[in-house]
Structure formats: structure tokens, C-alpha cells
């Protein structure tokens, strides 16, 4: 019975107090016919020492390749202090700060997080996190529908330059609410939203336009034009952005004349380990006018009864525990610990650190693409500027290449043909600030060898 502190004496005294003959008697309201006698199919208990050994073996069965893949999850350096502090028991083992006075640590941190995210996005308010980038996009769409009272269509323009997996998640989450997702094709030259496709929707009732930038191909969308166009259609603008890139790129709040209405995205680049896909966190910011339609927790500053500043959850009337079926979302538990880490990460890098990190990502990605496309038979696919990812094309299928590179312990990129059949033999490659010139050379050399030996 690991983790159970009761002595035989305790049990006896407690049962006597309760007036029960034994512990089993406490379950006497469960119909006997339903009772099971234990869980024979579950493995037997192990000591911590045994489990440690098992998990160390399992970890040894996971390889650590040189990583040139992004496609939604990015291999950034995480300062050691981030997780040494985030896993402190007081952060790790607390829950949602319902009792504000007993949770000022978490609450102040969340307030600081919100302040950092509004600084990055140039929007007015941030919530305290959603599950991940994909579900945040789904929530942003639902929110945009609530915000855009003028629009009746619930029609969302969804570019195909949005991450294919995000589009799948959005479909799963929003389709049963009568929302129509209209795909916007991309420009085969630029790898960004096809301007011509927009004109088709000109004048029609559009609830919102999603603008991803850098988009799934790494390319930078023409956010000013797109935003203004959407606002002319009375559509809401949902920015889907990479938070690291925002240290460098124009923030959603400054897109076009009025700025995006909602910004959301995946928070993983901000100090969250790749970790096989999660836990990450979704972020969401919006203009002040929309705050009452925001899903998720929000922390506000206030005063205590002696006039001292303190922090508390606020605007809870939006949430499921008050508003129930009419809540802005069903989200309850969010990704608090990830946001704790992200906040510490942003403070540790600071203004200059995040700017330099973003710049280094971009530079390395340019260097990577330049180096790879210098190889015979490899070419760049799109001509639009990109952030830290780009698409390259080979003269033959990439599956075999990926396998051969994996044998050299290189994760070479994300093959696009599965999601975009027209992008035959294409690979989405990425370089963060972690990939130096030597890494790029290693990748290129192996690639040359493999291609050459073909």
C-alpha cells in the first residue's frame, strides 16, 4: 500500500469512530452484484526502485536525434532554471487558485504571464492558458462566432496553410456546433493564402478569417492586407501565431489598420520540452472588447481589505462552474504548470533574449535552406519570406531519405505529401537557435552522400 500512512491502530480507531466493523463495510451501499474482487488484470505493485529501473530502460529505448523537424513543435533551448523552479512542490502540487489568498504565488505568476503575452501580441488581454495550440484555435473560432454578432453564417475561412493537424482538431471540436469551415487554398508560388481565393468570398457573410503566420510552410502571410480585407467584410480576424516569432514579427494587435481581434497559438516554444507531443499549452489573447467571450481562466489584480495589491481569478461568470451549459467553454483544468514554466522562461530570456532567440532561429533556417538547396537536386518550393521553417523539394520520394537519415540519427524534416498530395517529394525543414553551422553541415553532408550514392 504505497503512499498510505495508516497504522493498524489508526484504522481501528477510525472504524470505531465511524461505527463500522471493517473497511469493507464502508462500501455497503454499492450493490453486491456489481462489486469486483480486485483488479487481477492490472500488474502487481512495484517498488520505486523497480519502477525507476523500468523507466530508465524505457528511456534508453528512446533515441535523441539531431532535430531539423518543426511542424508544430520546436526544439529550443530551455534554461535549466525553468523546470527546477516550475517543479517546486508549491507550484507542482497546487491546484487552480480558487482561494486567492492561499495562492498568490500562482496568481501573481499568471498575471505576469498574461502581461507577457499581451506584450508579445500587442493585444489587451490574455487568458491563463488553454490545452494546446490546436484546441486553442478551435476555441478561438467558437469565440469569434460569439463575438461577431453581426454575422449569422458561422462561416470561418480556414486557409490550408494552417497546420493540417490543427485543422483536424478544429473539425473535431467545432463541427457539431453548426460551424462551417471553408478552406482557402494557398498560392503555389508563395506558399501563403491565395489572394484570388479571397475575392470569391468578398461581400459574403464571413464570421472570421484565420491567419496563420508563420504558416505551416514557415512562410509569412501578408497579415496587413488580410486583416484589413477581413475587417472590411465585418469578419473577425483570428491570428494563429508562433510566440517566439512575435519577438521579431509584427504583433497581431498591429496587423492592418485595426489589428487582429483574437490571437492564439501553441505555447510550446516558450520553454516547454518537446516531450513526445505534450503537455504543451494553448495561449489566447484578444481585444478588451471581447474579454467576456474569452474561454478559460483570467487573473486580475485587485486590493485586499487593507489596500494591498493582490491577485485573483476574475470574470468567472464566463466559466462552466458558474454559467454551466452557457459557459464560454467547458475548459476547467488548463495547463497551469506549462504556463508557469513559460513565464519563467520569458523572464529568463527577457526582452533581448527572446528577440535574439527569434533572430537566431531565422538566420539558422535561412542558412539551412541555403545550404540544402545548394545540393544538386534540392530546391526551394516557395518564394515568400519565412521564419524558421521552409519547404524544399527533392527529385525523388522523401520516405526513403528520411529513413536513411534517421539511421544517421538525423530527424530531417516533415514529409508533406500525406497532407498535401500536390507537394510530392517535399519536406518541411526547420532550424531553431539550437542548430549551429556544424549541425547544418552534418545534415547536408549526410544528405549529399545519400543522394549521391543513389
Amino acid at each position: 500500500m504505497p503512499f498510505i500512512p495508516h497504522t493498524e491502530d489508526d484504522i481501528e480507531q477510525m472504524l470505531a469512530t465511524i461505527g463500522a466493523a471493517n473497511i469493507d463495510a464502508l462500501f455497503d451501499e454499492i450493490p453486491a452484484a456489481l462489486r469486483v474482487d480486485g483488479l487481477p488484470g492490472v500488474p502487481t505493485t512495484m517498488s520505486e526502485a523497480e519502477v525507476s529501473r523500468l523507466m530508465t530502460q524505457r528511456a534508453a529505448d528512446v533515441q535523441r536525434p539531431l532535430c531539423f523537424v518543426g511542424a508544430g513543435a520546436y526544439d529550443h533551448h530551455i534554461p535549466a532554471a525553468v523546470w527546477e523552479i516550475a517543479t517546486r512542490g508549491e507550484f507542482y502540487s497546487a491546484y487552480t487558485p480558487y482561494q486567492a489568498e492561499a495562492s498568490q504565488g500562482t496568481l501573481q505568476l499568471l498575471y505576469e504571464y498574461q502581461s507577457m503575452m499581451t506584450a508579445l501580441t500587442a493585444l489587451d488581454v490574455s487568458n491563463a492558458s488553454l490545452y494546446d495550440g490546436a484546441s486553442a484555435l478551435a476555441e478561438a473560432i467558437l469565440m469569434a462566432v460569439r463575438c461577431n454578432r453581426k454575422s449569422k453564417s458561422k462561416r470561418i475561412l480556414m486557409p490550408t496553410t494552417v497546420h493540417p493537424l490543427y485543422r483536424k482538431v478544429v473539425r473535431t471540436i467545432v463541427l457539431s456546433q453548426g460551424i462551417e469551415l471553408v478552406e482557402l487554398p494557398y498560392d503555389a508560388c508563395g506558399g501563403t493564402i491565395l489572394a484570388a481565393a479571397l475575392s470569391e468570398h468578398e461581400g459574403s457573410d464571413i464570421t472570421a478569417l484565420v491567419i496563420p503566420t508563420p504558416n505551416f510552410f514557415g512562410a509569412l502571410e501578408e497579415v496587413d492586407t488580410l486583416t484589413d480585407w477581413a475587417h472590411q467584410q465585418d469578419a473577425q480576424v483570428i491570428a494563429l501565431v508562433n510566440p517566439t516569432s512575435l519577438a521579431l514579427l509584427k504583433p497581431p494587435g498591429e496587423w492592418g489598420h485595426k489589428g487582429a481581434d483574437i490571437a492564439c497559438g501553441e505555447g510550446q516554444p516558450l520553454g516547454i520540452p518537446l516531450a513526445g507531443g505534450g503537455p504543451y499549452f494553448g495561449f489566447m489573447c484578444c481585444k478588451k472588447a471581447h474579454v467576456r467571450q474569452m474561454p478559460g481562466r483570467i487573473v486580475g489584480a485587485t486590493l485586499d481589505l487593507q489596500g494591498k495589491r493582490g491577485f485573483t481569478l476574475t470574470l468567472q461568470a464566463r466559466e462552466q462552474h458558474i454559467r454551466r451549459s452557457k459557459a464560454t467553454s467547458n475548459i476547467c483544468t488548463n495547463q497551469g504548470l506549462m504556463v508557469t514554466a513559460a513565464t519563467i522562461y520569458m523572464a529568463l530570456l527577457g526582452r533581448e533574449g527572446l528577440v535574439r532567440c527569434a533572430a537566431a532561429c531565422h538566420d539558422n533556417a535561412v542558412a539551412l535552406v541555403d545550404r540544402l538547396t545548394a545540393i544538386d537536386g534540392i530546391s526551394k518550393v516557395f518564394d515568400q519570406p519565412f521564419f524558421h521553417e521552409a519547404v524544399i523539394r527533392f527529385e525523388r520520394p522523401v520516405a526513403g531519405l528520411l529513413e536513411q537519415l534517421a539511421e544517421q540519427n538525423i530527424l530531417a524534416g516533415y514529409a508533406l505529401q500525406g497532407d498535401y498530395p500536390e507537394l510530392e517529394n517535399c519536406l518541411l525543414v526547420c532550424a531553431t537557435e539550437q542548430r549551429n553551422a556544424a549541425d547544418i553541415e552534418t545534415f547536408a553532408k549526410h544528405l549529399q552522400q545519400i543522394i549521391g550514392s543513389h
Binding site: 498510505i4 495508516h6 465511524i18 473497511i23 464502508l26 450493490p31 469486483v36 480486485g38 483488479l39 488484470g41 492490472v42 505493485t45 520505486e48 519502477v51 528512446v62 513543435a73 526544439d75 532554471a81 508549491e90 507542482y92 502540487s93 497546487a94 487552480t96 498575471y111 491563463a128 490545452y131 494546446d132 482538431v169 471540436i173 456546433q177 519577438a247 521579431l248 509584427k250 501553441e266 518537446l274 516531450a275 505534450g278 474579454v291 481562466r297 489584480a301 485587485t302 485586499d304 494591498k308 493582490g310 470574470l315 462552474h321 476547467c332 483544468t333 495547463q335 504548470l337 508557469t340 523572464a347 530570456l349 527577457g350 526582452r351 535574439r356 527569434a358 533572430a359 538566420d363 519570406p385
Partner: protein, 484 residues
């Protein structure tokens, strides 16, 4: 002081700067931001000191008894964190080929098997990222099931009036409407009302058992039969699974789908609000609709089940594998407990709750559903104190903080006025419970002779009672630099 208030222009943490000076000016002007983002400019030590000190302002399981009802604030074994934080696990890219991550997939696969076994279900998907997303997935599967059968009119989900707010909210997110079923004074469901509600529009019913009232629904077999007869399905909200682990399985009770809050029953960290994890498990008939990704094993290696193998899946709920690192922690916890430990979870969480209930009853507290067994949690109502002394549940709760105990859940479930939902969990020792009981008694006595004092609590925390009305009225949701 905020981290922003410690910022000074030009200060920077050089150890965290990439070594290369990049020349990003290559990007066209129109894409670039004009001013650098107003992130703090602080040293590494300032950051470490700031967040270390902030952390000390939290109550947490590692520092305090935290009997927050419905949340299962049990000990989070440190081994689960340490072992899940191994470099190899943290470094895995979600797009890594399966050949590179067999050790990771093995853990997920094993966890799928364990959860199926203990819930009495046939299939599991680990991907939902919290209970509420599990609910969404479960209800979406119920909906998909009916639609797949052409049963298009089933758009009504029955939910007991005591249900957690996520239940109706999840129904809405799935495009279903909610119909509340009342609860009898004995805490069981009003079966007569249920019968009235059931019909051709019934998609199903969503229950937690034990319910949020802290009692076990004794008519569950009958309810199950009635709902199934009416063509509906049964959803089990697994938030309270801690109470019955190894005693009775949702599958055996007749449920078709369940989500399991790993951050409750499987002790993954609550993290100041998450991440959670809410895997779903289903009976035979819902198997085709399970979300993806899931892990398969062919006897020698592990792989992701391909989308093409799951034509009827409700789809994806997250870009990648849900809260994978949390799943690792839950898996480690499950192996530490093993079957023997799992059974003891229900035993001792129930013993602890019934013990506190018995002692508080003796001490003159009003216990809701006093004639019933407590499960792993139970409710007291402070309505009498609120009416007679003007000291309400919130006041009691704030005063408990001064005694070093986290406030139990208050004002939920909505059914019981001025309620406190108390869940001690199995990992707390009798002495701790005794201390908590003594504190509640002393607050009751204090409230009887010095209500003003009680109402002014807390007195010993970093801040006194906060003005929540002001917070909501004069929204201050982000720091902005003082002008000038």
C-alpha cells in the same frame, strides 16, 4: 513586486543569449515589429529569486493538507516527476518515427491496457487533455454512435442537477442540449423524473458515481437498464473514480464510456491548474468512434494506429499525443500502486472521509446526506451558521487558511446551500485529519462568540481578504508600464 517592476532598460541575462549575433534584418520591414516586446529585463538571479519567493506564497499538497472536494489532492509521488523528466523522454519530437521512440510508446500502450482493465472497458484513448476534454470526447462518441445508426433525433443529454459544470458545458460544445434530472433528498437520483425525461430524443445520461454529493448512486443498475432501454447511452464522469477503484468498475455498472481524470485518481500534478489528463475508455459498441492517436502493439513493436484504420473516429482532440508527459507520470504511478495499491486507494480515501464525517457530526456540524455512507468525500452545510451567526462557508474556508489548511470546495455542488465538499484522500494521516477537525471545531466556536474575527479572515497570509468585486469591475488583467 512584479517581475516587470524589477526590470531595468538594458539589463539582460547573457547566459541565455544565443551566441551568434543574428542579422534578421534580411526580412522585409513590413513583417517586422517596430518596438521590442515589453518583456521584463531582469537578471537570472532576480528571476530565480522572484519565482522561488512567489512559489512560497502558495498552499500546495507538498506543504499543506488540501481537502478540496472533487479534486483528489493526494500525494504526487516525486518519482513520477523525476522519471518522466528524463532527458530522453523530454527530447522526443512528436514527429519522431516510431522506431526511435519504442520506450515511450510502450508506456502509453501499457497505460491503455491498465485503464481498460480497471474501468471494465474495451478500448482506451489517452489523448484528452483534461476531464472536460474527455467529456467532450465521450459525448461526441455517443453522438457519433447515434448518428452512425441514423438515430438523428437524439440530441438531449440528461444530467443530474448536482453535476459538475463541465458536464453541461461539454454537452453544449458537442451540440447537444442538456436536461437536468433532479436528485432525491436521500442523494439518489429521482428515477421517476428520469423516466419522464427518457425518450426518443435521449442521447444518453452523464453521471458521476459516487456523485458530487459524495454518495454512491445505489440505483445505478436500474438507471442503466432504463437508459439503455430508451436507446440512450451512459457516460461516466470519472472525476470520482478514486472512491471506487478496484471496488466496482464503470463498465460493470453498465456505462458505455468513461473519462478518467489522471490528475485526480492517478495523482499527476495539478500544477496550479493543470495540465490534467482525461483519457476515455469505451465499451464494445463505442470502439469504432474512439479518438486518435492511439498506440498498437504487434507483439514485437509499438506503433500509432493510423487514421485510415479508424474510419469512424470522432477525430483528433490535440495536435499530437495529448498531455503525453502527464501520461508517463500516470503510468509510473499505476506501476507503483499496482493492483494491490489501487484497491487500497478506495479503502483509505473512503475511511478518511467517513472518519472526518463522523467526527464532525459528533461535533455538531450539519452533514448533508447524513444517513448515507460517505464515499471518498462528503458535504457539510454551514447554512445554520450563516443564518444564525452571519458566518458563511466562505468565511469558514478563509479562516481555515489561517489554521494551515486549504479550504475544501465551497458552494459546489449547487444543491446544498453553504456547503463544503471535503475530500481528504487516502494519503493523509489520521493526525492530519484530527488537526483539521480540531480547526473546524475551533472556528465554529470562534464564530459563535467572535463572528467578526472569523469574517475578517485570513489574517496570516501574504494578503488579507481580496476584493473580488473590484477585480471584476475594474479590470486590471495585465501590467502596463507607468507613464513618464
Amino acid at each position: 513586486m512584479l517581475i516587470f517592476e524589477q526590470s531595468r532598460a538594458g539589463r539582460c541575462n547573457r547566459a541565455q543569449l544565443p551566441s551568434s549575433q543574428a542579422a534578421h534584418s534580411a526580412l522585409p520591414e513590413r513583417f517586422l515589429r517596430k518596438t521590442e516586446p515589453a518583456l521584463p529585463e531582469v537578471s537570472e538571479m532576480q528571476t530565480v529569486r522572484h519565482y522561488t519567493r512567489l512559489s512560497q506564497k502558495n498552499f500546495s499538497i507538498d506543504t499543506h493538507f488540501y481537502p478540496l472536494g472533487s479534486c483528489t489532492m493526494k500525494y504526487n509521488p516525486r518519482a513520477c516527476n523525476t522519471l518522466a523528466m528524463q532527458g530522453a523522454f523530454l527530447g522526443q519530437h512528436p514527429h519522431a518515427p516510431v522506431g526511435m521512440i519504442q520506450g515511450f510508446l510502450a508506456c502509453l500502450y501499457d497505460l491503455q491496457q491498465i485503464l481498460a482493465e480497471l474501468s471494465g472497458m474495451r478500448g482506451v484513448c489517452l489523448t484528452p487533455m483534461a476531464g472536460a476534454q474527455g467529456e467532450f470526447a465521450g459525448v461526441a462518441m455517443m453522438r457519433a454512435y447515434h448518428l452512425a445508426r441514423g438515430d438523428n433525433e437524439r440530441t438531449e443529454l440528461l444530467v443530474p442537477d448536482a453535476a459538475h459544470g463541465t458536464n453541461p458545458a461539454s454537452a453544449t460544445m458537442c451540440g447537444l442540449s442538456v436536461r437536468e434530472i433532479p436528485t432525491l433528498v436521500n442523494g439518489d437520483m429521482d428515477i421517476a423524473a428520469l423516466k419522464v425525461a427518457l425518450g426518443p430524443r435521449t442521447a444518453g445520461i452523464m453521471l458521476t458515481n459516487p456523485s458530487t454529493l459524495g454518495v454512491f448512486e445505489r440505483q445505478i443498475a436500474e438507471i442503466s437498464a432504463l437508459v439503455h432501454e430508451a436507446g440512450g447511452l451512459l457516460y461516466y464522469d470519472g472525476a470520482n473514480l478514486n472512491a471506487i477503484l478496484g471496488k466496482v468498475r464503470p463498465g460493470d455498472m453498465g456505462f458505455d464510456v468513461i473519462h478518467i481524470n489522471l490528475h485526480k485518481t492517478f495523482s499527476t500534478p495539478h500544477g496550479g491548474g493543470g495540465p490534467g489528463s482525461g483519457p476515455v475508455a469505451v465499451s464494445e459498441r463505442l470502439l469504432p468512434f474512439l479518438p486518435i492517436p492511439r498506440v498498437a502493439y504487434d507483439g514485437s513493436s509499438y506503433r500509432w494506429i493510423a487514421e485510415q484504420e479508424c474510419l469512424h473516429t470522432i477525430g483528433r482532440l490535440s495536435a499530437f499525443m495529448g498531455n503525453a508527459g502527464i501520461l508517463l507520470r500516470a503510468y509510473i504511478y499505476a506501476r507503483l500502486l499496482g493492483r494491490e495499491g489501487m484497491e487500497r486507494v478506495a479503502d483509505f480515501s473512503t475511511l478518511n472521509a467517513n472518519y472526518i464525517m463522523a467526527r464532525l457530526k459528533q461535533a455538531g456540524f450539519d452533514v448533508a446526506y447524513a444517513e448515507r455512507r460517505a464515499t471518498h468525500e462528503f458535504i457539510i452545510t454551514l447554512q445554520r451558521q450563516a443564518q444564525e451567526l452571519g458566518v458563511n462557508a466562505a468565511d469558514f474556508g478563509k479562516r481555515l487558511l489561517d489554521h494551515g489548511y486549504h479550504t475544501p470546495t465551497i458552494y459546489f455542488p449547487l444543491l446544498v446551500p453553504e456547503c463544503m465538499l471535503i475530500e481528504p484522500t487516502e494519503t493523509e494521516a489520521k493526525e492530519t485529519l484530527d488537526g483539521f477537525i480540531a480547526a473546524l471545531i475551533s472556528i465554529k466556536e470562534e464564530a459563535e462568540c467572535n463572528a467578526g474575527l472569523t469574517k475578517s479572515a485570513p489574517l496570516t497570509l501574504p494578503v488579507r481578504r481580496l476584493d473580488e468585486v473590484k477585480a471584476a469591475r475594474e479590470l486590471d488583467l495585465a501590467w502596463s508600464a507607468p507613464h513618464g
